[in-house]
Each structure stands twice: as structure tokens, then as C-alpha cells.
């Protein structure tokens, strides 16, 4: 692949400008509430350099990255899988129930749990796929409804499958046996906080995503369908099958989103306080990272870093909800700036070509 320096520059420029813009907005908000801008920024960056916090950023980033991958598979085909949120929660719950019901030798136990999670995630996404292909229901609406249905379904099932833990109000499923634990990695020196071993699986999934999309026929069909449905049909792509397959894959990856926490956390069970809303963060990260495997990894780390800063903000007496504003501003400004940069790129390309043509005729 030939690398065009101009295109690389444009690709990097957009997110950089967006982040700078979001920081400016944040500074403005901080000033308007009378909080010091500079000392807050130093406090946030100093805090993020602590080893325990670094490990935490990597862990949260792993989860965000998987969620973004799930969303991106749909995005590349112009499908908006807003249902990642419901898919991963239902999948994590099912995996917790099934995984705690038996024990197997170590790698096998984990493998079975992962397969269950992926199957359930894919199944929940499959409903939206079927509704779209057979009844023409927009996946945007159906996945949102399925999110709400998943919330109540999990709440109902959780009460049926709960086990009582003495001295705790938290409602949780039975813990998965030790053989289902995904070992953590001591990647960061100077802290006892382990990094999720799942970070390796996330990296492998990211690599697979990049390779499949840009190096296989399936990936080509998928991108072609996303760019122009009519052109894809004309070249012999079965669009219905592509919709079903890509949503199933998206759902299967979504099934993995809850796994780092479920298998790498301390309780290894699904409980009331299992993290929710990761699917929506995934959408934001996929947008920020432009559905690019590396870009999304950086975006996931950025969001995770911003999340980690909420603790120290709270400590300094600043409303930690400002993090949400930063994240929202980044997403909105990044899509606007991508569009501007794209227009600029097209115009520059046109000028370059017309110059070359002038040169050829002169």
C-alpha cells in the first residue's frame, strides 16, 4: 500500500483539532464556573501518571475498544448498531449464569463462556437483523427498543438466578469457578493493580477486524455495501445476507464487551452494579477513531483517560460530570471537522489534478 503523506496529515489533523477544540470548550466551562484551568489540567495529568491509574486506564480502554469494534463493524456497512449496549449486558448475564453452572479445565472453561457470550450477543443483534431484512424495520429504532427490552429481561432473570450473599444488598449471580478466571497481567511496574489479560484478546480482535475488512472478499463486500448499496447489488453482493452476517458479527463482538470485567474482575459474577452504558461510549469511540483499528484504540485510551480524571476532579471540588461534556464535545466536533477536512481534501485534490492537467496541455 502506498502511503500518501498528505492523506496521513489530513487523517491526523482532524482528531487533533477536535481534541484541542474540546479542551478549549472545557477551559471555557471551567472559567465560567470560576475554577482554575491550568492547575486543574496539571492535577489531571499528574494523577494519570500514577501506576495504578495507568493500569486502570488500560483496563477501561480494553472494554471501550471491544465496544467500539462491535459498533464499527456495523458502521462500515452503514448499519447503526445502537444495540451493543443491550447485547453485551444480556450476553454477560447469560455467560455468568452458564459459566457458573459447571467447571472445566482452565482454557476450556473460559472458551465455553466466551462462546456463550458471543452467541447470545449475536442472537440479540440477530433479531434486529431479521426485522430489517424481512420487515424493513430500521435497525436504529429496533436496537434501541431491544436495549430497553434487554434491561428489563436481565432485571427479571437476575432475580430468578440470584444467589444471596450475606451482608450485601447487591443482587448477583453465582460466581464463576476459579477455572473460569482470565489471568491478569502485571504489565505496569510499581502497582499491584493487574491489567486485564483480555487486553490481548482485544488486540487480536482489532487486528482481525483490520485484516478481514481490508484484505478479504467479505470485507470488501461489506465496505462496498456501506459505500453504495446499488453498486454492491450490481456487482453480485447479496445485501440481505451481508446485513444479517455483519449484524451477527457485531453482536458477537458486543458479547465480548462484558467479558474483561466478568472473567477478570474480583467477583466473577453478574450483579446489579455491572457496568452499563458501555455500548454508547463505544459509538462515540468508533466515531472518534474513524472505524480504524488503530484510531479506535487511541480513542478508547483517550476516553478511558478522561474517565479516570473524574476521580481527581471530584477530589479538587470540580463537578466530575464535566468529563461527559468534554467527551460529547469531542465527538460532535470531530465529526464536523472530519467533514471539513474531507471537503478541504477533495478541493485540494481537484486543484492538484487541474494543475497537472494544465501542465500537460501547456
Amino acid at each position: 500500500m502506498r502511503i500518501d503523506p498528505r492523506r496521513v496529515l489530513l487523517a491526523v489533523a482532524a482528531p487533533t483539532i477536535a481534541i484541542v477544540f474540546a479542551l478549549l470548550v472545557t477551559a471555557l466551562v471551567l472559567t465560567s464556573t470560576g475554577d482554575p484551568v491550568l492547575s486543574t489540567a496539571t492535577a489531571v495529568f499528574d494523577y494519570a501518571r500514577k501506576p495504578a491509574v495507568e493500569a486502570q486506564i488500560l483496563n477501561q480502554g480494553t472494554i471501550y475498544y471491544l465496544s467500539a469494534l462491535a459498533v464499527a463493524v456495523g458502521f462500515r456497512m452503514n448499519l447503526f448498531n445502537i444495540g451493543v449496549d443491550g447485547q453485551y449486558r444480556l450476553a454477560a448475564f447469560a455467560a455468568a449464569v452458564v459459566g457458573s453452572s459447571f467447571t472445566l479445565p482452565k482454557p476450556l472453561h473460559i472458551l465455553v463462556i466466551l462462546l456463550v457470550a458471543m452467541a447470545v450477543g449475536a442472537m440479540w443483534a440477530g433479531i434486529a437483523a431479521l426485522l430489517k431484512t424481512s420487515r424493513g424495520v430500521s435497525e436504529v429504532i429496533s436496537t434501541i427498543m431491544l436495549n430497553a427490552i434487554a434491561t428489563t429481561l436481565v432485571a427479571y432473570l437476575l432475580r430468578r438466578f440470584k444467589v444471596d450473599t450475606p451482608g450485601s444488598n447487591n443482587v448477583a449471580t453465582k460466581s464463576i469457578a476459579e477455572s473460569g478466571a482470565f489471568p491478569g497481567l502485571g504489565l505496569i511496574p510499581g502497582t499491584s493493580v493487574k491489567v486485564f489479560g483480555f487486553i490481548i484478546i482485544a488486540a487480536v480482535a482489532g487486528a482481525a477486524y483490520a485484516v478481514v475488512l481490508s484484505r478479504t472478499r467479505f470485507g470488501f463486500d461489506l465496505r462496498a455495501t456501506g459505500r453504495s448499496r446499488t453498486a454492491a447489488i450490481a456487482s453480485g453482493v447479496d445485501v440481505r445476507r451481508m446485513i444479517v452476517t455483519s449484524l451477527l458479527i457485531s453482536g458477537a463482538i458486543a458479547g465480548l464487551v462484558g467479558m474483561p470485567q466478568l472473567l477478570g474482575g474480583s467477583t466473577r459474577s453478574y450483579s446489579l452494579d455491572f457496568p452499563a452504558g458501555l455500548g454508547f461510549t463505544g459509538i462515540a469511540i468508533a466515531l472518534l477513531g474513524r472505524n480504524n483499528a488503530v484510531g479506535m484504540a487511541l480513542a478508547a485510551l483517550l476516553f478511558s483517560f478522561l474517565d479516570s480524571s473524574s476521580l481527581i476532579l471530584d477530589f479538587n471540588g470540580i463537578a466530575k460530570e464535566i468529563v461527559l461534556i468534554i467527551q460529547g464535545t469531542i465527538v460532535l466536533s470531530v465529526v464536523v471537522i472530519y467533514e471539513l477536512v474531507r471537503r478541504y481534501g477533495v478541493a485540494a485534490e481537484q486543484r492538484r489534478v487541474s494543475r497537472q492537467l494544465d501542465g500537460a496541455t501547456a
Binding site: R135, L146, E321, V323, L324, G328
Partner: protein
């Protein structure tokens, strides 16, 4: 339209008599249904304006959230109507943001909508911490209780209708219940919402401005060639869209709830959008859609287990009838599916006495999915809805 309402009421009446689930058509249920339908209908109205001008708007949820917060913040300080006004304005700001991104910068409409939702949620949570911290009766995620908006009704109607209802006669009592729900104890803001729907119809379908606006949603290039300022129309439509969603949010905070609470909107922006799609991008249709969702939502609140259980009987029977009709038209696959689902609903009805509470909470969402699955093939959205448009792109 009137006929289908009448048939629906008759069916409900029969099911009510057969099962004894009196809350199916009681005045209380209808009144609750109306109150639940209004915010959904207002969100749908927002969607109607926006999508008729060609801008898909899934940011309604975020705009509604802004509306609930604005109403909560202004409402406890300067009274409920100021709350409605500020909620409307905050929603309009959300709409303006969406318009800037989609119209001026040509960002993908869904992407921008998602971003508006994230931003609306984040901004309100942040503002709550600043504005409500230390205020009496408030917390970091809720405003103080708000003063109510007065309710109105047709005088002298409540008592006679209530006594008619108590007899539980077939059809007569049901009709009395529906009328009591619709005509007595109605919030002024509900009346305003009804006027907004009628007004939207008049403006969009009976004025030159409305024709221009809708032409942007069908074919912006053609509209441009006729001298319509497409950007201006789209801006007006999307800002109005946010304002309607804001009124819906204000209704949630002031009338339906007792102040702003975090998470109060709970997907109603999306459901409103679904109601509008179900209503085929028409005001009358979206009212029907909002009514349906409001009704299923109200049922689950009023002895939900029993009422939704009775509804299962109705759904099961309807699906079986549908299956026979489909089979007669030799559409065997669809007929078999309908028969299977219908039989499952009936089996569930016969084997249980009440539906567990969690499942009744699901009812509006499942109803949305079912209704879209059954209706969506005959729908026609504005031809250029959701497509990017740049001035002069027609050449």
C-alpha cells in the same frame, strides 16, 4: 380511522368483560394513557418537522433531556409556565446544534444525533451539580419539586360518567371511561400539545411555508431551483423540532413527574420517533402511534400484571384471525408465523394469571417493535430524508 378506533374499543370491551380486567378501559387508565402519550407525541411532532425537511433526527432524546432540565431549573424559581418556556428554548438549542452539524457542515444525521444525545445528557448532569447543589428539596440529580399546571375539564361530566363506568356494561361503560379520561382533569399543557399537533398540520400542509419546507425533504435540488432557501428551511425545521422535543421534556418534568430527575426521559425521544415512523410521517398517524404507546405504558402502571395479561388474550386472538386470513390468501409462511406467535400468546395467557412486573415494563417497547414489524412495509418516508445536501449540488 374512526371505524378502526370503534372496532378497537369494541374488542377491548369484549376482552374486559371476558377477563374482568376492568382497568383496560377505565377512566384512570385512559387519563394516564393521555398523560403518557403527550411527551411521546411531542417528540414525534419534533421528528415530523425535522424529517419532513429532510433531516433525520435521532437527537430528539437529547433535546428532550435538555427540555426536562430547563423546565426543572426555571420551573421551581419562576413558576411552571416559565419552566415550559425555558424547557422549549433548551430543546431548541439542542435542535440548533443538530442543524449546524447536519445542514451547515453536512455531518451524517444519525452521527450528529447520537452526539447531541451524549452532549444533552452530559450537559444536564453537569448543570444539575452546579445549579441544584444545596438547593432545598433538590439533589445532584434532581430539581426541587415544581408547582403544577392547572387542569381543566368539561364541567358536570365527571360524576355521571364515573357512575356509568361502575356498572361495567359492555361498551357503554368503556365509552364512559374513555370520555372521562379524555375530557376531565386534563392538564392545560396537554391542551396546548393538542393545539401544537393541529397547528403543525395547518402550517406544514396548508401554508406556502409548509409546502416549501416539505419540498426540501422530498427533493432539495428541485426546491432550490425554484428559489427556496433550503438551508433556511432546514434550520427552521430542525430548531422547531428541538423546541417541540423541549416542550415534551417540560411536560415530563412538570406534569408527568414532580420536577426534573436524571434519566426521566428514558428513551421517550426514540419512542416518539418510532411513533412518527409508525404514523407514516403524518400528524394524524403520529397521534395514533403516540396513543398506542401511551396506552400500553399506562396499562402496565395500572394493575399491570392483570391488564397486560388480558391484553395477551386480545393479541393472541387477533394473530390467529390474521393467520387464517393470510392462509386464505395463500401466504403460508407469514400465516404460520402469525399462528405460532398467536398460539404462544394464548398458551401463555391460559397458563398464567398475571404477567410478571418486569414483562409489563417491557410492553411499550415490544409493542413498538411489533407495530413497526407489522406496519413498516406500507410506509413512505420523505424521499430525501436523512440524505446529505449541499447548496448548489444539483449543478
Amino acid at each position: 380511522m374512526l371505524l378502526s378506533v370503534a372496532v378497537g374499543l369494541l374488542l377491548l370491551s369484549i376482552v374486559r368483560v371476558a377477563t374482568g380486567a376492568d382497568d383496560l378501559t377505565s377512566g384512570g387508565t385512559v387519563s394516564a394513557a393521555l398523560a403518557l402519550a403527550v411527551p411521546i407525541g411531542l417528540a414525534g411532532l419534533g421528528g415530523l418537522w425535522s424529517e419532513r425537511s429532510g433531516v433525520a433526527n435521532i437527537g430528539l432524546e437529547g433535546m428532550m433531556i435538555l427540555g426536562t432540565w430547563g423546565a426543572g431549573w426555571a420551573g421551581y424559581q419562576w413558576g411552571p409556565w416559565t419552566g415550559v418556556l425555558v424547557g422549549t428554548l433548551m430543546g431548541a438549542v439542542g435542535g440548533l446544534l443538530h442543524a449546524i452539524a447536519t445542514v451547515s457542515f453536512g455531518v451524517d444525521h444519525i452521527v450528529s444525533g447520537v452526539a447531541v444525545n451524549i452532549l444533552g445528557l452530559g450537559a444536564t448532569q453537569f448543570l444539575s451539580v452546579i445549579a441544584f447543589d444545596g438547593v432545598k428539596g433538590a439533589g445532584q440529580s434532581q430539581s426541587p419539586p415544581l408547582p403544577d399546571i392547572v387542569t381543566v375539564g368539561v364541567p358536570g361530566l365527571g360524576e355521571p360518567l364515573r357512575s356509568l363506568e361502575k356498572h361495567h356494561w359492555l361498551l357503554v361503560s368503556d365509552l364512559a371511561g374513555v370520555l372521562r379520561g379524555l375530557l376531565t382533569g386534563v392538564s392545560l399543557l396537554t391542551v396546548l400539545a393538542v393545539l401544537l399537533v393541529v397547528g403543525s398540520y395547518v402550517v406544514l400542509w396548508r401554508t406556502a411555508f409548509g409546502l416549501r419546507l416539505r419540498s426540501c425533504g422530498e427533493n432539495p435540488v428541485a426546491a432550490e431551483s425554484l428559489g427556496v432557501n433550503v438551508y433556511l428551511m432546514k434550520y427552521a425545521a430542525v430548531i422547531a423540532s428541538g423546541a417541540f422535543a423541549g416542550v415534551g421534556g417540560a411536560f415530563l418534568a412538570i406534569v408527568a413527574g414532580n420536577g426534573y430527575r436524571e434519566g426521566q426521559v428514558a428513551g421517550r425521544g426514540y419512542i416518539g420517533l418510532a411513533a412518527m415512523i409508525f404514523g407514516n410521517w403524518r400528524p394524524g398517524g403520529l397521534v395514533a402511534g403516540a396513543g398506542l404507546f401511551g396506552y400500553t405504558d399506562a396499562l402496565q402502571l395500572r394493575r399491570g400484571g392483570e391488564s397486560v395479561h388480558a391484553l395477551l388474550l386480545l393479541v393472541g386472538l387477533l394473530l390467529l384471525v390474521g393467520a387464517v386470513l393470510l392462509a386464505l390468501r395463500s401466504r403460508l409462511v407469514a400465516g404460520t408465523i402469525a399462528a405460532a406467535v398467536g398460539a404462544a400468546a394464548l398458551a401463555f395467557y391460559l397458563r398464567t394469571d398475571v404477567v410478571p412486573e418486569d414483562f409489563t415494563t417491557m410492553t411499550p417497547y415490544v409493542a413498538t417493535l411489533l407495530v413497526l414489524a407489522l406496519a413498516s412495509q406500507r410506509l413512505r418516508m420523505p424521499a430525501a430524508d436523512g440524505l446529505p445536501y449541499r447548496r448548489g449540488q444539483g449543478g
